[in-house]
C-alpha cells in the first residue's frame, strides 16, 4: 500500500513521539507514516464518525491532529492554559469526541465536539474536587451498561450515565486498587493493574471480585475481544469470560501498549517496536520506528 492511497474502512492507528502517526490494516504492515516536529508528543487516539483523532502536546500547548483518509491531516491547538493544563484523555462516545483536560488541584473538565473542529464550553465532570487526590490524572475510559467509567491515579474510579451528567466517585476506592486499564464486555466492566490486579463492576461504582496474580506481572492492557477479557501483563496473559474466573498463560515478548480489532492484537514496546499477535500470548515484532509508540487504537476511517 503506497502512501498516496487514501485509507478507508477498518484500521489500526499508532501514534507517539515527534508526531508519529501510522496505520495498519492487518497489524503487520504499517503505512501512511507521518511525523511532525521534534517534541510533538501524541499519546491519545480515537475514532469518531469516520475520522481518526490523535492528541497530545507540543511545548506548552495541547495539540490535536485529525484525518479521514490517513493522508491529509488537519491540526489544531485545543483551548487550554499553556504549560499548565494537560490532555488527560481523548475518546469518543456515540455522539461526540471528548477531551479531558486538567491540572493539579483544579476541577477536571471536558470539552466536547461533534466534528472535531467546534468545541463546547468546558464542563466540570464532578463537583467536589476533594473526592479524588489533587494531582490524580484520569487515565482510561470504558463505556457499557449505559454508563461511562473513568479510571485514574490513586485508585480513582468515576462513573456517570453520560458526559453531560456529573460523575460520581466509587466508594472506598483505595490507592492500592489503582487500575491501569479498563474495558467493558459481557455486561461488566473489568479492570487490571499492578501484580495482575483484576476487579470487576457492573456500574463503575461498586467493584468486586478483586484478585491478584504473580508479583511483577503488571497488567498494562485489558482487552475484550468479543468473547473474553485478556489482561496483558509482562510475563503472562490472564484470560476470563466473566472477570471472575481467570486463567493465567505465560506470554512472550508482551507489549506495554495494545489494541484489538478484526481478530488481531497489536502491541507496542519501547523503543518504537510494533508487535502482532493472534492470541495476545505470542507476540512478534513486525516493525520498528525511530519514534516510540504511545497509543494504539482500532477503528473505522472514511465511513461515518
Amino acid at each position: 500500500m503506497t502512501l498516496n492511497m487514501p485509507l478507508r474502512g477498518s484500521v489500526f492507528v499508532a501514534c507517539g513521539e515527534n508526531g508519529l502517526r501510522a496505520f495498519s490494516r492487518d497489524g503487520k504492515v504499517w503505512t501512511h507514516l507521518q511525523t511532525d516536529r521534534e517534541g510533538v508528543l501524541l499519546n491519545h487516539a480515537c475514532f469518531f464518525r469516520g475520522q481518526c483523532y490523535t492528541g497530545g502536546r507540543y511545548g506548552g500547548e495541547l495539540t490535536l491532529f485529525q484525518t479521514a483518509d490517513g493522508l491529509t491531516w488537519q491540526s489544531q491547538k485545543l483551548p487550554s492554559k499553556p504549560f499548565v493544563e494537560r490532555l488527560e484523555l481523548l475518546f469518543a462516545t456515540d455522539t461526540e469526541v471528548c477531551a479531558i483536560i486538567s491540572t493539579d488541584g483544579a476541577p477536571i473538565q471536558a470539552i466536547l465536539s461533534k466534528n472535531g473542529r467546534d468545541w463546547s464550553p468546558r464542563q466540570t465532570l464532578f463537583d467536589d474536587r476533594r473526592s479524588i487526590a489533587r494531582d490524580a490524572h484520569i487515565r482510561r475510559v470504558a463505556r457499557g451498561n449505559d454508563r461511562i467509567v473513568l479510571i485514574g491515579d490513586y485508585g480513582v474510579r468515576l462513573s456517570a450515565p453520560t458526559l453531560h451528567d456529573k460523575f460520581i466517585a466509587a466508594a472506598k476506592a483505595e490507592a492500592k486498587d489503582t487500575l491501569i486499564d479498563i474495558t467493558f464486555g459481557n455486561g461488566v466492566f473489568v479492570g487490571g493493574g499492578l501484580h495482575a490486579l483484576r476487579m470487576r463492576s457492573r456500574d463503575g461504582r461498586v467493584w468486586t471480585d478483586r484478585t491478584l496474580g504473580e508479583e511483577g506481572e503488571h497488567i498494562n492492557r485489558m482487552i475484550f475481544d468479543g468473547k473474553q477479557f485478556l489482561g496483558i501483563g509482562q510475563g503472562a496473559t490472564y484470560r476470563s469470560v466473566d472477570g471472575v474466573e481467570w486463567e493465567r498463560i505465560p506470554n512472550q515478548n508482551a507489549p506495554t501498549v495494545a489494541a484489538y480489532g478484526d481478530g488481531i492484537y497489536v502491541g507496542a514496546l519501547w523503543p518504537g517496536k510494533l508487535l502482532h499477535s493472534r492470541d495476545a500470548i505470542h507476540w512478534n515484532v513486525v516493525q520498528e520506528f525511530p519514534q516510540h509508540v504511545h497509543s494504539l487504537e482500532h477503528g473505522v476511517l472514511g465511513i461515518s
Partner: protein, 486 residues
C-alpha cells in the same frame, strides 16, 4: 619519526594541551604530585567515589528486612547480588538541616545532600551551604593526585550538590568527552605501577632528578625580577603584584607537577601496573557526538543508559590512573523520561512519578507510580553494579581497585516526595581494608547523615572527628559517629 626522548618541556606541554592549557585547566591540576610520588606507599592509595542519583528511592524495595549478614537483596539492589561481600548497607540515616530564603524542596534536599549542615539556603539567588564531603575529601587526598577532585554528571541547578570550603557551589562537568580530554590531554594512558612509584618515592630518583627546563628557568628569572620590583611599589600595588605573582607561581607549580607526572607515566609505560587502563567503550569520538549524547539524556533512556555507563567508566579510569582520588557522579534527572525502563502504566516522567509515588503514608501513594519509581531505581542500580564489577576486576598488584576504594551509592532525596528521612545509603569497596563489608546495619531512626561523612573522612585521613551537623543536629546520635563500620 617519533622522537624517543621522554622529558616534555613546559612550552611543549602547553602547546600540546591546546585550549585546555588555559587557566581553568591549569587550576584543576593538583599542586603536589611530586610529593605524591614521594609519599605514596607500596599499597595503592584509597579513593573516594560518590554515585548519587536523583529521585530518592522506594525504600521498602531498597533496605533489606534483616540486619547483619547480607542475604537476598531487595529488588532495587538485586543487580548487586553477586557483590554482597563488598557491600555495606546502612539504614535510618537522615538529614535534619533547615532551609532559609526562597529555595524549593529539591534545592533544600540537594544543598543538604553532601554537606549535612544545619542550614542551607540562598543569598541573592546564590546557594549557600557548608563544604560538601567530597570537597573535604579532596583537601585530604587532593595533594596526592593530579586533580584534587572531579565532579561529573548531570547535577546542576536544583540538583547542586558540591560546595567548596567557603560554601560556594562548584560546577559539574556534564560532557564526557570534555571530561576525558581534561583528564588525559597531553598524557598517555597507563595504569600506575604502585611498586615502581613506591621505589621512586624511596629513592627520590625518578622525579627529583629531572632538571628544570629552559622555560622553567626563564619563568624563575621573571619571578625574581618581579619580586625585586616589589620593593619600589606602594602598598596597594604591592598587594596587586603579590596576587599576580601568586597566581603565576601557582600555575608554574602546577605545570611542573603535570610535567613530572607525564615523565613518571612515560617511565611506567615500560613497566606498567598489572591491569590495562579501563578505556570507556562508549567514549564519544568528538565533542559534537558528546554534545548530542548529553542532550538526549532526559529524552531517551537508551542514551541515558549509555551516559551513565560512560560517566561511571570515566570515574573508574580516573581512579585507576590516579588522575584523581576523589570523584563524584551526580547522575539522573528528575526531568528525565523513562519509557521502556518504566513498563507499567502511562507515566514515564520521573518527576511526576516521584510525586504520585510518594505520600505521607506509603499506602496513600499511587502504587503504579511507586512501581515506576522502583523500576527507575532498579535501573540506576544496574549501572552502579556494573561499575562495581569492573572495579573488582581491576588488579592493582594484589588488591583490586574496588578494595582500594570507598564508593557511596545514594540519592539526594530519601524519597521522591522530597523526603529527608532514611536515605538510601550503600557503601561498596573496602576502603583499603577499613570497612567490614557484607552487612546491613540499621542505626537509630534519623541518625544524622553527617555521622556517615565523619566516618568516611576519617578513613581518608581526617582527624577532625566532626563534619556538618554531626555534633549539632537536634537528632545527634552516637556522639557524631557511626559505630560498627569496621
Amino acid at each position: 619519526m617519533q622522537p624517543a626522548t621522554i622529558p616534555v618541556s613546559r612550552r611543549g606541554f602547553l602547546r600540546g594541551a591546546g585550549v585546555v592549557a588555559a587557566l581553568p585547566f591549569l587550576e584543576s591540576l593538583a599542586p603536589q604530585v611530586v610529593q605524591a610520588g614521594m609519599r605514596s606507599a607500596v599499597r595503592p592509595p584509597v579513593r573516594f567515589g560518590i554515585f548519587t542519583v536523583t529521585g530518592g528511592t522506594v525504600i521498602e524495595s531498597w533496605v533489606p528486612e534483616q540486619t547483619g549478614r547480607l542475604g537476598k537483596l531487595p529488588s532495587i539492589l538485586k543487580p548487586l547480588q553477586p557483590y554482597t561481600d563488598d557491600l555495606l548497607i546502612l539504614s535510618n540515616l537522615s538529614q535534619s538541616g533547615q532551609s532559609e530564603g526562597e529555595i524549593n524542596a529539591h534545592e533544600h534536599c540537594a544543598y543538604l545532600h553532601l554537606t549535612a549542615v544545619d542550614k542551607v539556603g540562598k543569598i541573592n539567588g546564590r546557594p549557600f551551604a557548608g563544604q560538601s564531603v567530597d570537597q573535604r575529601a579532596a583537601e585530604l587526598l587532593g595533594p596526592e593526585s593530579l586533580i584534587p577532585s572531579l565532579q561529573l554528571g548531570y547535577a546542576h541547578g536544583e540538583t547542586t550538590y558540591f560546595f567548596d570550603a567557603s560554601g560556594r557551589s562548584l560546577p559539574v562537568e556534564r560532557d564526557p568527552r570534555l571530561a576525558f580530554d581534561r583528564m588525559f590531554q597531553g598524557r598517555r594512558l597507563v595504569a600506575p605501577n604502585w611498586k615502581l612509584r613506591h621505589q621512586a618515592a624511596t629513592t627520590k630518583s625518578l622525579l627529583a632528578s629531572s632538571p628544570p627546563t629552559y622555560d622553567c628557568q626563564v619563568v624563575d628569572l621573571i619571578l625574581d625580577d618581579a619580586k625585586s620590583l616589589q620593593k619600589s611599589l606602594g602598598r596597594a600595588d604591592r598587594a596587586k603584584l603579590e596576587e599576580y605573582l601568586d597566581s603565576i607561581d601557582n600555575i608554574e607549580r602546577r605545570v611542573r607537577k603535570m610535567q613530572a607526572r607525564i615523565e613518571l607515566e612515560a617511565a611506567e609505560l615500560k613497566d606498567p601496573g598489572p591491569s590495562s587502563p579501563h578505556l570507556p567503550e562508549k567514549l564519544p569520538a568528538d565533542r559534537e557526538q558528546s554534545r548530542r549524547l548529553v542532550q538526549a539524556v532526559t529524552r531517551n533512556p537508551a542514551m541515558h543508559g549509555d551516559y551513565l555507563e560512560l560517566m561511571a567508566d570515566l570515574m573508574i579510569l580516573a581512579f585507576q590512573t590516579d588522575t584523581t582520588r576523589v570523584c563524584s557522579l551526580g547522575l539522573g534527572s528528575d526531568e528525565a523520561l523513562f519509557p521502556g525502563v518504566v513498563t507499567v502504566g502511562y507515566e514515564y516522567h520521573a518527576h511526576t512519578l516521584e510525586h504520585h509515588g510518594n505520600a505521607a503514608r506509603v499506602d496513600d501513594a499511587d502504587p503504579v507510580a511507586r512501581e515506576g519509581c522502583r523500576q527507575i531505581h532498579a535501573w540506576y542500580t544496574r549501572f552502579f553494579a556494573d561499575m562495581v564489577r569492573k572495579m573488582k576486576a581491576i588488579d592493582e598488584g594484589g588488591s583490586s581497585l574496588l578494595d582500594n576504594t570507598l564508593l557511596l551509592y545514594t540519592s539526594y532525596m530519601a524519597d521522591g516526595g522530597h523526603g529527608r528521612s532514611n536515605y538510601p545509603v550503600l557503601l561498596a569497596g573496602k576502603a583499603g581494608g577499613t570497612l567490614k563489608t557484607g552487612r546491613h546495619i540499621a542505626y537509630e531512626k534519623d541518625t544524622p547523615m553527617a555521622n556517615l561523612y565523619v566516618e568516611i573522612l576519617e578513613r581518608l585521613g581526617d582527624r577532625r572527628g566532626v563534619f556538618g551537623n554531626s555534633q549539632t543536629s537536634p537528632k545527634a546520635r552516637y556522639n557524631g559517629r557511626l559505630p560498627d563500620l569496621s
